[in-house]
Amino acid sequence: MNSKASPIEKIQREVVVIGGGPAGLAAAIAAREAGCKEVLLVERDRILGGILNQCIHDGFGLHAFKEALSGPEYADRYIRRLPGAGVEVMDNTIVLSLSSDRVLEVSARGALRHVEAGAVILAMGCRERTRGAISIPGHRPAGVYTAGAAQNLINLENIMVGRRACILGSGDIGLIMARRLTLEGARVEAVFEILPYSSGLPRNIQQCLNDYNIPLFLNTTVTDIIGKGRLEAIRVAQVDGDRVPIPETERLVPCDTLLLSVGLIPENELTVQAGVAMDPVTGGALVDDTFMTGVPGIFACGNVLHVHDLADWVSVEAEEAGRFAAAYVQERREEPRRRTPVRAGEGVRYVLPQTISGERDFILSLRVTAPWRDRTVVIRDGGGREIRRKKMMRLHPAEMIRIPVKKGAGADGSPLEVSVE
């Protein structure tokens, strides 16, 4: 045996939050305010705030603070509360691994630590889908970036990525970048979207495209990337009902930059490593009505759980998760309680939480599969009995729908189903 002390520092904390974006910030504060003494927030970046730091546009906080804030301002509302709340922060620190018994391997400049946690809150956010994942044919020149990476370079690193851009995908980041590039003097030729509708928020279509006369082409995709060194042009074509490009419609669009805004993928490497069961539709963990995953003591919230359109809802969800994680540590609650499944029915892409106990009120989050007007979201129990209905003027896949449900629903253990009627 080696007599030398292990160089790995071992520490214990009641609650460890992984990720210091809006989800992690709100969860950590809530866990501390719920009475947990030791709440550790681990963030791999040198600054807290997560993706919000590069979102210098406004539009954050309309629900939470009834004000239009920029991303950094919104994050700052929470960051400022950390010292008062007594949350311990390790920034510049990355969680490298997580085990099902809640031991984290944590790396920072100068130290590798093992942290034993009473409860873990996953708040790692998401990453962008790449060119490879959507298989765009063609060359692989410089000038093709994911929209978020370009946003980071422009807003945080003072680096201009190109002069003449096209954007593939009408996700919010792409829309916001169309405006940003235009304001910085670049020419944005167009936004192309393969779906028959935009996947961004309507307000972003208006404020980022229409206001700047940037055309949005629906049912259109990029079929070729041209240029061996730097991007020279792309080819685009309309697609048919099966999303297959129609050759006759193909045309060349000269540009030196292509930004991809083609979807976000919850960053769940640690989650999977810890043995947490996943939802193939959300790309996040399966959770119950306390935001606990299938592994006791591991909770999830924010974009790592399901991709949110508004940071405000991330904060709300994360506060809940923080409180439940605190309760878990304080009460050492026994497992399992009742787990009534909640299922996505007709017109619903996913629902969250995926199981409920029936013991408490909860917010049902869901997304629909297509845009509609004047429909009703209906929740029924196993016997087909209606539990709750919400009439909506506008339903859109880009917008998350949140419906409060009273306790008692699903208390008999028969599965609930949510559908659009």
Partner: protein, 496 residues
């Protein structure tokens, strides 16, 4: 600028770099000219990375002899050069009885070629070597292996450099003239190099270089192979190489799955003849076919497992209507004294490279008296493993000594700041983003640089003083950025 050498190698692929490294055992003034901004940017970074065992090539051919020899040299070579290589073995599978004579033939040929350990095995053993593989019988070749082809190329070059060979990157040979008794080489950049012996290792451009000295008998027919790279999530799925038994006159091995030493899986290569040897585009039809094929071979595949595409081009000597392969040409030209010529080094050129190098240096000895250099050091400094692969205790110790090991720059591949810095300070002086990725693996994972490129930019700007214009993807013609947004220096945003 005018430079004078005894030996000049044209082309910095795995073959040229292996020759450079072999030459560096001797006291000789040698240099390598490479047109790209780094070595290994041609076929040598664009292949399956398989060390073939050598049963497929007709007895007595250079391909048979050099492949078997090259394969056998790899253990020592990869150990000395700190290159990852795994002898995972290969199953060449007969799907039905009809394929069986092919296995017997291959075994016989392999035995005659001196391939060690070949066995025709039954389905049971086959499935113990690779779970789930279907088929009737298989030829098992235990010496088949996988290697990182770009790491091998870079390591050969770095070791050659350390032992005294000069590398001139970004030097495209444009014209060659005879200045009896020497050669004079002019490059597109306007520099002149003279040498006693010239080695043509220019891969896809071998016939062009031949024409520069008046050799007209060779033609290269570029044949592109496309690949998908699959996510490391599937690491461990493949415990051996599995190939279908070959069909006659097929231009390659056919599409198959190949694990890489870094834990990814490649699907490919396809085969398509083209005019442009450097058209590395991937095409929608081929990509769709590869995805279908992948679905069949790996039913558990998900859309998100496809992380990237690439393509490489084979330097074929036969036109599409002929198909098949011709043997390597490796000749010490009698008509052109001091011109050592390599043509048609397609597969198994990677495997054969160290043996080709020995053979070429033998030819160089016909012209120059080469004396061994007692100072030759075959060992390349550095570590075989990436930091993340080390045991936790060792990681902790290294972080305590050097904090840059504690900071992760590339989250998908868990590459540390120290490793990125080491890569950017590489001895060859290659400075492109592709150079960096081939050395440090940063940006090669599932997010393809979405996370780490901004961090690498910040690091190179703040600690190495790079301007936006200094960031090139693979060379001068592939600038990443157009400049600063504002004249004031970036980086201040963080201190807000």
């Amino acid at each position: 600028m005018k430079h004078s050498y005894e030996v000049l190698i044209i082309g910095g692929g795995v073959v040229g770099c292996a020759i450079a490294r072999e030459l560096s055992r001797y006291r000789v003034r040698a240099a390598l000219l490479e047109k790209e901004a780094d070595v290994g940017m041609g076929a040598s970074c664009r292949n399956s990375g398989v060390l073939h065992c050598g049963f497929k090539y007709a007895q007595g051919t250079l391909r048979a002899i050099l492949d078997v020899r090259g394969n056998a040299m790899m253990d020592d070579l990869c150990r000395d050069l700190k290159v990852k290589m795994k002898r995972i073995g290969k199953l060449t599978v007969a799907l039905d009885e009809e394929d069986e004579p092919m296995l017997d033939h291959l075994k016989e040929q392999g035995d005659a070629n001196g391939v060690p350990g070949l066995e025709v095995i039954d389905r049971d053993r086959m499935q113990r070597i690779q779970a789930g593989v279907e088929g009737y019988r298989a030829l098992y070749s235990p010496t088949s292996a996988i290697v990182s082809p770009y790491n091998l190329t870079i390591a050969l070059a770095e070791n050659a450099l350390a032992n005294g060979v000069d590398f001139h990157l970004g030097q495209k040979v444009a014209a060659i003239t005879r200045q009896e008794p020497r050669w004079e080489v002019r490059t597109a950049a306007g520099d002149t190099f003279t040498a006693d012996v010239l080695v043509n290792a220019s891969g896809l451009f071998a016939a062009d270089v031949c024409r520069m000295v008046g050799i007209r008998e060779y033609e290269i027919y570029p044949c592109r192979g496309e690949y998908y790279v699959l996510d490391r999530r599937l690491d461990g799925t493949l415990t051996a190489l599995v190939y279908p038994a070959p069909k006659k006159n097929a231009p390659g091995w056919g599409t198959h799955l190949t694990p890489t030493v870094d834990g990814n899986i490649l699907i490919g290569p396809t085969a398509e003849y083209l005019d442009d040897p450097e058209d590395f585009a991937c095409t929608s039809d081929v990509m769709a076919r590869l995805r279908r094929e992948c679905q069949r071979l790996l039913p558990s595949i998900r859309q998100s497992d496809y992380i990237r595409n690439f393509a490489g081009t084979r330097a074929k000597q036969t036109p599409p209507e002929v198909g098949g392969n011709k043997d390597f040409v490796i000749e010490d030209r009698k008509d052109l004294k001091g011109f050592v010529n390599l043509v048609g080094i397609e597969s198994p050129g990677l495997t054969s490279s160290p043996a080709i190098a020995e053979m070429v240096v033998g030819m160089v000895k016909n012209h120059l008296a080469l004396l061994p250099d007692p100072a030759f050091n075959p060992v390349r400094p550095g570590s075989l493993d990436f930091f993340w692969e080390l045991p936790p205790e060792e990681k902790a110790e290294r972080i305590a000594e050097d904090p840059d090991y504690g900071e992760i720059i590339c989250r998908c591949e868990k590459i540390t700041k120290r490793e990125v810095i080491d890569a950017i300070r590489n001895p060859l002086g290659a400075r492109t983003m592709v150079s960096l990725k081939y050395r440090a693996r940063a940006s090669m994972g599932r997010c393809q640089g979405g996370f780490c490129i901004p961090r690498i930019v910040r690091l190179l700007r703040d600690e190495f003083g790079w301007d936006p214009e200094d960031f090139l993807k693979r060379g001068a013609d592939s600038p990443m950025f157009v400049g600063n947004m504002r004249p004031d220096k970036g980086g201040q945003a963080h201190e807000l």
